[in-house]
């Protein structure tokens, strides 16, 4: 009888420990999955919108932390990264919505622009000027997302399909 009581006691405490650890792992996994899901969704949005950029001139005012896009329908979109962890998006001229607040601002290289010799076009202090923007041929998106101990680093070049077909002028309308 004592043996049984001891056995039950041991098993009970083992179960409790395993349950606790199991639950802990479960919570961490779902957190991690949620973090990856959010980061992935934000980055994909960024990639897709950037690929729809209508004309290189529409990159005007963009820089390492700001990316301005106008698509083939004329819709304006912009993406902003901010210290310490914000990654925001705005459609048109309304208010910004958060795509992620797990951005590692200082670990991310943000938005980089290249000309058709694949050399970097460094934006002036207020962002790309009109002249600079017109030389942009290729962009690179580099964002690192951080959540507690978890890090996810995503980097992609993006070549807007419209850039193949020339710059939009008034007589193209």
């Amino acid at each position: 009888m004592i043996i049984v009581i001891v056995a039950v006691g041991i098993i009970g405490s083992m179960s409790a420990t395993m349950l606790f650890q199991g639950a802990d792992i479960f919570v961490k996994e779902t957190n991690r999955q949620g973090f990856v899901s959010e980061a992935r969704s934000a980055f994909w949005r960024l990639m897709r919108e950037t690929q729809g950029q209508s004309s290189s001139a529409d990159f005007i005012l963009s820089d390492q932390n700001s990316l301005y896009v106008k698509n083939g329908k004329g819709d304006l979109k912009d993406f902003q990264t901010g210290s310490p962890d914000q990654f925001n998006f705005r459609l048109g001229t309304g208010s910004y919505n958060s795509l992620s607040n797990s951005l590692g601002y200082s670990q991310s290289n943000g938005f980089t622009f290249y000309n058709n010799n694949f050399n970097v076009v460094s934006p002036s202090s207020g962002g790309l000027t009109e002249t600079q923007a017109k030389t942009v041929h290729l962009s690179k998106l580099d964002l690192t997302f951080i959540n507690d101990m978890d890090t996810l680093s995503l980097t992609s070049f993006v070549y807007p399909h419209n850039f193949r077909f020339g710059s939009k002028m008034s007589y193209h309308d």
Binding site: L19, A23, Q33, G52, S54, K73, N162, G166, M169, S170
Partner: protein, 611 residues
Amino acid sequence: MASTMGIFIILSLFAFYLARFSITESRTGGYYMVDIKARNLAMTGIEHAMQSYKASRNISNITGNFNNGSYSVSFDTQNNEAGTALPHSHFITVKSTATINDVERNLRLIVSSMPEAFLFSFYGNNSGSQTFTRSNGTISGDMFYNGNVQSNSGTNSGVTYTSTGTGGTLLSSPPSFPTLDITHYEALLTSAASASGAYNNYALDFNSSDYVGIGSSSDINTGIHGQRTVEAWFRTNNKDSSTRQVIFEVGGGTRGLNIYIHSGRLYVGGWNRRSDESNWTPGTWIYTTSIQNNQWHHVALTLSGGSSVSANALKMYLDGNYMTSGNGSQLWSHNPTNIGRTRSGSRYHNGTGNGYTFNGKIDEVRIWNVARTASQIAAKKDTVLAGNEDDLTAYYNFQENTGNTANDTQTQSNNDGSISNASWTNGPTLSKMGSTAFTNTTINLNSYANTQLLANNDLTISGSTVNGPGYIVVNGNLNISSNTTINGNIFLICSGNLTISNSQIGTGLGAAVVIYSKGAADYNSSTVYGLIISKGSSLELDGSTVYGAILNYSSSFSLVGNSDITGSVISNSSVDFQGNDASITRGNIPTFSGLNIGLDPIVVPGSYLEY
């Protein structure tokens, strides 16, 4: 026990949530990868569509299976992907949908069917190195001039772009002057130059006892013949005569075929009266009353019969249209052929007899050893034959214009006819190359070989209607006048001077014409829908209206009177507004879908969109 069960239940719930999490994550994660692939596949569809369109202006749907998915591309000439109307009729929305598993991505581009320069109202390439000066008329819409523009000479609404910045906005990388591929046009002109020149169609005139007799031959009358077509052109001035007028007959009282006119009716008949043969007795005579005096008509008789009488074996066609049919059978060996008169007896709907003559003209008599179909008959009735056509047995075109022999122009055998007293005269206007003039008539280009009317001489079209699709190619001067209507999808190509007056060329942007001329071109008081390409010394529009595009290479290009162009004008030199009411307005241009016009389309910049 209960607590064990409790733990068991809790752990099962955990396991269930984890399983669900795994499935969801696995599926969602997969979508991101398929997203990239599906978007690339939609772009693949667009690439395929662009090349297909560039090659042949083909706007039918394009589909493909690739990379574990499929794509489908469609062309919309009216609206964009949201169903909103496109701003110009020469714009086309190319929509590509790609599906991989259950992930679908949609992309679109907008294509202009014309090169980029046609997006301006006026594009002056300034080959003459002049400042653009305009003191009359109006220009509406953005324009470009490759040089300086005098003040107040630019566009009245829109932006005046210049290559120098003087007189307008500087455009440092303007669209280039369009490249025109002239291969197709020049190849057609080469064909016209080797065409045989003006074709005078001769015929024979019959009266009293005139006839053409053709000797007996196994091709025509000896032996058994069950498949036969006989056709001829005829013209009478006395259709209502109660005396039979025989155009064609073969055979005699027992067996035979004939074509004749009696009391206002045109008959075809056939019989084979022996009871030990098919017993086609008394015979079949079918008729129509749709003939007029003093008018050329085409008649065809077809026989498709076997060894016994069957229904609808004998058929009649008038002017290319099926009239009626009756029963019939094949014919056993019978007496030879006569044209214009009965000579060895014949049978009619109301009796028998010999010696009946046709009073009038006959031309283009053909005997085939098949029963030709309605479309075959219609296609070749207006054309002279080459003589080597399949199943053609004998062909009498009466082109000799002299002598007593009617040659059998069929190339394989020779069943020449001998002419007895019939006199030479002019035949109907047939659509062979090189008629010099069409007056008050209808020209159907589908009755010409390859739908090409080739003329190796000057050509005049006056007060006529031309139906396409097809080509009129003149190795000489072309003159179109007096309320002629050229309907859509026709190319007018001439190596010499082009004069169009008081006429309608093309009837709408969807029924447009392409004009390519290499001499001086004059458009007077006419309306044109389409594309005018002028490669000669001068181009002048005088009181004419153009909807579409002009591509001018002439060093002298003037707009006189109230000439209006809505669409786009591109001039290698410049343009001279002589009329104060003359205008150039940016507007719609036809898409010329499916036509080889020698100009390449472009993708409208900034039009790529994922939707």
